[in-house]
Symmetry: C2
Subunit: 231 residues, 2 copies
């Protein structure tokens, strides 16, 4: 992890309008004083389950995974966060320590705002509070929704689901490089690594995807959609 020099003010930050629409100049200056940009290399741990929460974190660049490790069983990936997602989201208002781990899947830049400063502004700016609540709710809803969706599918449907997830929600293209290993896919969609590999092979043999290592190309997205829908 590397702390970037604190050159940029939040006021000039291209993300502030997307994320923090309703803030005054004073509030943005206040955040500027209490923020820090952090850079993480691929594979680095950003936060750990059980560690105290001291800041509000959101992703500026890169890709991270939120995951849980439970003794004696495999780890489970809760979700993948992309730029502009809040990554210290779950737990931040409900717990003093993180309830899950966060690790960088790519080189990543995180903006870290000191928690007290963040809460102070929420407390004084109602519309901002509502905005954060709305974004928070959306993220929680998405996680819960996709958990239930994955659970009612069979293995082929789950693989179809995750391929479409990367294609539609992360890369916006039929062709992309998987940011995670087969094992991590397994941890994300509740199946074994062997079966992830097996079913990706099936899809390749059926000619609905091209696979070369981590490089994926969806040849027949419509068929993948229908496999996903059927479950």
């Amino acid at each position: 992890m590397r702390e970037l020099e604190n050159l940029n003010s939040c006021k000039s930050c291209v993300y502030n309008k997307l994320l923090f629409g309703g803030l005054t100049d004073e509030e943005l200056d206040f955040f500027t004083e209490h923020k820090q940009e952090l850079e993480f290399k691929k594979g680095e741990i950003i936060s750990k389950e059980g560690a105290p929460i001291t800041s509000f974190l959101y992703l500026k660049e890169g890709l991270v995974k939120l995951y849980k490790e439970s003794p004696g069983s495999k780890s489970q990936i809760i979700s993948i966060a992309k730029p502009l997602d809040f990554i210290s989201l779950l737990s931040i208002f409900s717990n003093s320590t993180y309830k899950y781990n966060v690790a960088a899947l790519e080189d990543t830049v995180v903006c870290s705002i000191h928690l007290d400063a963040f809460k102070k502004v929420i407390g004084q700016n109602g519309p901002f509070a509502l905005e954060i609540m709305s974004k928070m709710s959306k993220m929680y809803d998405d996680i819960i929704e996709s958990r239930f969706e994955i659970n009612r599918k069979h293995l082929r449907g789950r693989i179809a689901f995750i391929l479409l997830y990367f294609s539609n929600h992360i890369y916006h293209s039929d062709e992309f490089e998987l940011p995670i290993s087969r094992r991590e896919i397994a941890e994300l969609i509740e199946m074994t690594t062997e079966n992830v590999i097996r079913i990706l092979s099936e899809f390749r043999k059926d000619n609905i995807v091209q696979i070369d290592g981590k490089n994926i190309k969806l040849i027949e997205p419509e068929r993948i959609e229908s496999i996903c829908k059927l479950g």
Copy 2:
């Protein structure tokens, strides 16, 4: 559904201190004007997926289930809400329509505060906003946590989990009456109705629970704990 007469002010409501610690008298009066208590009989639907959200709802008395119905597959129960839980929670700040259904498992009293009024107070009272966010986060965290926990267990572990859930979190007793059918248990912990019945029978034969219809008595809670932990 029956609308109760609006006799009680929020100021005198026994729940207000538990739920809404930081409100001024004026704000409580404001809520009194914009609230309505609703009574639902067991089995009644409180809100439906897709219906517009017009109020903030919380449970005063009774027990409800939050569930999703998806065409062509069984419904899935997301969670069970008990008194003081927010039931219009998910979606309320992120969507204009409900993302799931809510139905009463017992005779139930719901307090309904008009959404605009609720948002207005959040916007003007920062500590209250933080309080609501904290409670919201906790509920979301619990749902997500238990989803992941259920998913890494085998059937026996799931049954143990749900027995302990009712015992520890709902009834606070080793002896209780199940508020839901075997089919609903199945919808809640991701298994088939037959297997719920089968495994409850196994537990009965193994003498770790007494079962008489919906009446349950945990004979050996420690063994149930260990079955739950092992998965």
